[in-house]
Symmetry: C2
Subunit: 232 residues, 2 copies
């Protein structure tokens, strides 16, 4: 372990964040570009010796992206030996005029705790931190080549998001308070990037027991109108 030059951070451990942005139609991911390196990466960071993992992630995301109060969930720890890339870290340190000797603990092996969140990108404006040239939303099928295993981390997060989509959508305000089954289906189709069969979708949604169906109002053509739902 290259411990002695690092008094502030837990060595060998980092976190990385896949922040999905969605406006009801397009799904994107937040990516940073490091100064003078051409390297693209997920926002991430290290854990201070006196910090809980949760605090470190919360503070780190705010510092690196300018976004406040993003609620991130852990989804997987990435612990392979092959994932670390001292060469990329060297370029980042050099590109930011950081002292290699003082920071050589960053060239060591890292195990990283993957986190993810889903937010509405139309409601926030990310800001790059002092290490980065730019920060921006990239469509999930147009991601640049990311450093280390960050593309793999993003893909795993996408699988997890798709599996947990119902619970993530609740409270995200991507739908009106009350919505039709068709509107709900459109949101799922956009994130899953595939067409869904109406009958199967409806059966599945109802079986999840997360929707409340509202009575139709009997005025005008209301009897022809579709049912409205809201999340329980």
């Amino acid at each position: 372990m290259k411990g002695p030059d690092n008094k502030n951070f837990i060595p060998n451990l980092s976190f990385d964040c896949v922040i999905f942005g969605f406006n009801g139609k397009l799904l994107k991911i937040l990516i940073l570009e490091y100064h003078n390196t051409g390297l693209f990466a997920l926002p991430g960071g290290f854990i201070e010796v006196g910090q809980s993992l949760e605090e470190a992630v919360k503070k780190g995301v705010e510092e690196r992206t300018g976004l406040k109060n993003v609620f991130l969930d852990q989804f997987q720890v990435f612990g392979n030996l092959e994932r670390s890339d001292p060469e990329a870290m060297r370029r980042i340190l050099k590109g930011n005029n950081k002292n290699l000797n003082e920071n050589n603990w960053m060239l060591d092996r890292f195990i990283t705790v993957g986190h993810y969140a889903l937010i509405n990108y139309e409601k926030v404006t990310p800001k790059p931190d002092h290490l980065s040239d730019s920060i921006g939303w990239y469509a999930i099928d147009e991601l640049p080549r990311l450093m280390m295993d960050h593309n793999e981390i993003a893909n795993k997060a996408l699988q997890v998001l798709r599996n947990n989509l119902s619970e993530k959508l609740i409270g995200m305000n991507l739908l009106p308070q009350k919505f039709t089954m068709k509107e709900l289906q459109s949101v799922f189709e956009a994130v899953l990037d595939q067409n869904l069969r109406r009958t199967t979708f409806q059966r599945k949604m109802l079986s999840l027991d997360i929707l409340e169906r509202h009575e139709k109002l009997f005025q005008g053509k209301a009897h022809k109108a579709p049912y409205l739902y809201s999340f329980k």
Copy 2:
């Protein structure tokens, strides 16, 4: 960081394993008792510098419990500052005649990666390792007081198991190849520790799309027999 005396392991990082044993009727958890300490704990360990997290967990579980090829899934990282307990580690080192000076990195703060698995306890015989007096299966509502935050880790794992029960049961061979809906319901009731309504259970199971229904054989009283199912 108390790094210099530890050349073999990644500091500040551990893994802990909640191994659920289930025989179709009773749900238990595997617990170790450390020599001369009165301390009970989940099986766990550290990650060697040259080891992937996955290898460390696989090897560690085999060494500590004698159980081979237990497939463990990560479920949560526990990273609070309060969870570490140097006093307990001191007792374990002392109780095992280990040199405190050489092992003082173990008194430092640890972030732990929680893993869990579900196996049939009737098919395996765990063996305690050299650090432990005993290893044994404890019913989930009769767990002893565990060291550090291990009771909390076990409870979180139980929640995750209950949420993922269908997929965990597949391939566990806790049911005959073909089973009735009633047999399947009994297994769920045992793990969830509550009675379920037959109609709701049946609807939920069928909507999950994991069961295959088999045609009845028309011989004798077969027309009165319940349908048989198998996992897809």
